[in-house]
């Protein structure tokens, strides 16, 4: 974390007050940083001359977003103004915390594309009202990936997953809750399935009496884990799938697509979204409250949210789900890209089975139960 912060500090050392300078901090993998550096940045510079885009990646996973939070929080606590990050790409958990602590600027109503920012995930995240503060750069869906050569019938439900894993011990893999958010998401999906309390867990209010049902669900997960392989992180699951160590596993669809596009992954590995669903976990574009180039930051995010840009940079180039209204973006995408995008997981599957993360209190209760019961 210290190293991440130091890199961030050095990279942003040039004052952000220079005319047209936009400091963009990306709490995501290098491929997302590259999109901003090589596609979105240059595209935006064409529409907004004299803009100097300084893009910095802070790493992967939650700690990458947390590094951005830590820096902004430190600047807020010391009373320093302006802050030297203008646009940040952060996880749902960190964004919700930043909104709660008043670290973000409510900018979405100013966007020309504000009407395209839709969905439950832009209204509320972990029980915090994030409406107006966030625009998903792209949607990030957790799914089950399987090897068709070794899985005769893809699982359509959690019951199917349990039955298959029991019949094929050690061949279903996921990364637990300490190896990345896909494992956390699978755990949440499991608890939704076992408790049947999806609505209550995602909408609140927090009710401590639900703890018994949650712990019962997590105890069942402990039993399930005896037939599963706990992998080493999100990439570890993909790696195990690729090597054939497992034949089915919990993955991020965007990461699966990225690995396939880079030729690092068996192209036949296919995602599927079983009932009653798995969480979606978008990365949000946010503007810090005291950003030096706030207006420019809003214009940049507006550019990223443009349907043409989403279609070209997000869907066509990377095979990710669009961050804004798909009804406006997908008609601009080629038929082949649409087919690739929805191979295995259809638009209907997404509409029916894409789930939200629970509110923070339940999230913490579930992960705590996992640590105590499953380990």
């Amino acid at each position: 974390m210290t190293i991440r912060l130091l890199i961030l500090l050095l990279a942003l050392a040039v004052p952000a007050t220079a005319a047209g300078r936009l400091n963009v901090a990306i709490g995501a993998d290098v491929n997302v940083v590259e999109v901003h550096k090589t596609v979105l940045g240059p595209g935006f510079a064409q529409t907004s001359r004299d803009t100097d885009l300084n893009v910095v990646g802070t790493g992967t996973g939650e700690p990458a977003s947390r590094a951005i939070y830590t820096k902004l929080k430190a600047q807020a606590d010391t009373g320093r103004k302006p802050w030297d990050i203008d646009v940040a790409l952060v996880s749902m958990a960190v964004a919700s915390q930043m909104v709660k602590e008043g670290l973000l600027y409510r900018y979405v109503p100013q966007l020309k594309n504000a009407g395209l920012v839709k969905g439950a995930e832009v209204k509320e995240a972990f029980g915090v009202a994030v409406d107006g503060y966030v625009v998903p750069m792209f949607q990030n869906q957790i799914a089950i990936a399987y090897n068709p050569a070794r899985v005769a019938a893809p699982p359509r439900s959690f019951e199917d997953i349990v039955a298959w894993a029991r019949a094929n011990p050690g061949k279903f893999g996921y990364n637990g809750i300490k190896g990345g958010v896909s494992g956390v998401g699978f755990t949440m999906g499991w608890v939704y399935w076992k408790t049947g309390q999806y609505k209550a867990l995602t909408q609140g209010p927090f009710d401590k009496t639900k703890e018994g049902a949650i712990r019962e669900a997590v105890t069942a997960l402990r039993e399930f884990n005896k037939t599963a392989l706990i992998t080493n992180g999100n990439a570890g699951t993909l790696d195990a799938l690729n090597r054939g160590e497992i034949a089915m596993g919990v993955v991020w669809i965007d990461q699966l697509v990225a690995w396939k596009n880079e030729g690092r992954m068996d192209a036949t590995i296919t995602p599927v979204l079983p009932a009653p669903g798995l969480p979606i976990y978008p990365l949000y574009l946010v503007v810090p409250r005291e950003a030096a180039s706030r207006d420019l930051a809003v214009r940049y995010i507006d550019y990223v949210a443009t349907p043409e840009v989403q279609a070209r940079a997000i869907v066509e180039k990377f095979g990710w789900y669009p961050g804004v209204d798909p009804d406006k973006v997908l008609p601009l995408v080629s038929a082949r890209s649409r087919e690739l995008l929805f191979k295995g997981v259809s638009a209907e599957d997404l509409a029916r089975y894409s789930r939200q993360m629970p509110i923070k209190e339940y999230h913490d209760l579930i992960t705590l139960a996992y640590e105590e019961i499953v380990r």
Partner: protein
């Protein structure tokens, strides 16, 4: 300088681990006890196994090099000194996963990788100690028929015992605080090395207080080893 780069951050961590909303509390240590006490034992166990493995390989190799100086082997033995921890973790994971996936993600795999990484440091320290043993003792033993194995076991090791102990303490402390290798090799479930727990508490939950409490526990473990080291130095 010491105060700025060590004592102040340490004090801040200790303070964070003992407060909640400005009130003094030991609740974070209670969390460590409830959720991570097995991980404390696991970390000590892996570090001890890694240290034992390191010496199991380093003592015969360094003993052989003391008796028959051979530059290329000595160079190879010290190569791990220059290989970053992350690279060792990645390399071992890639090498072991296809052939021994069970070992790659287990405590034994982590101990093996830690031992490989620390072999260079052990070689550096042990060779220095073994070379400090007067040749006359070895000659005398050879005269009464001692072979290479006996010379290492009965002359070099006993006469280098203080240096061996210090090396062991340094290597054990380093393994206690290892992060990159467990991060690259361990599974997402089961017992974890303490630094992984620190990373998880802060990275996943933003829980700086419990992360600090875990850090203090790791510091106390290393402190125990450091005190033994200091005693050796002043003995």
């Amino acid at each position: 300088m010491l105060g700025a780069v060590f004592l102040w951050p340490l004090a801040a961590s200790v303070l964070a681990s003992l407060t909640r909303d400005g009130e003094a509390t030991v609740a974070h240590y209670a969390t460590v006890w409830r959720l991570y006490r097995a991980d404390v034992l696991y970390t000590i166990g892996v570090a001890a196994a890694g240290t034992a493995l390191t010496f199991a390989a380093a003592i015969p190799a360094c003993g052989w090099l003391r008796l028959r100086a051979f530059g290329p082997v000595e160079f190879l033995l010290k190569v791990p000194l220059f290989v970053p921890f992350v690279v060792v973790g990645h390399a071992l994971r890639v090498a072991l996963s296809p052939h021994a996936p069970g070992l790659a993600g287990s405590w034994a795999g982590i101990a093996l990788a830690l031992a490989w990484k620390h072999l260079g440091l052990a070689a550096l320290l042990l060779l220095g100690a073994f070379r400090g043993v007067d040749e006359a003792y070895l000659e005398a033993a050879r005269d009464v028929g001692a072979g290479g194995g006996r010379l290492v076991r009965d002359i070099l090791v006993p006469m280098s015992a203080p240096a061996l102990a210090v090396s062991g303490i340094l290597i054990f402390s380093s393994m206690l605080a290892s992060f990159s290798i467990p991060l690259m090799m361990s599974r997402g479930g089961g017992p974890q090395m303490l630094m992984i727990d620190v990373y998880y508490r802060y990275g996943q939950h933003g829980d700086f207080a419990t992360a600090s409490a875990l850090g203090v526990v790791a510091y106390l473990l290393a402190m125990g080893a450091a005190l033994a080291y200091a005693r050796r130095l002043t003995a």
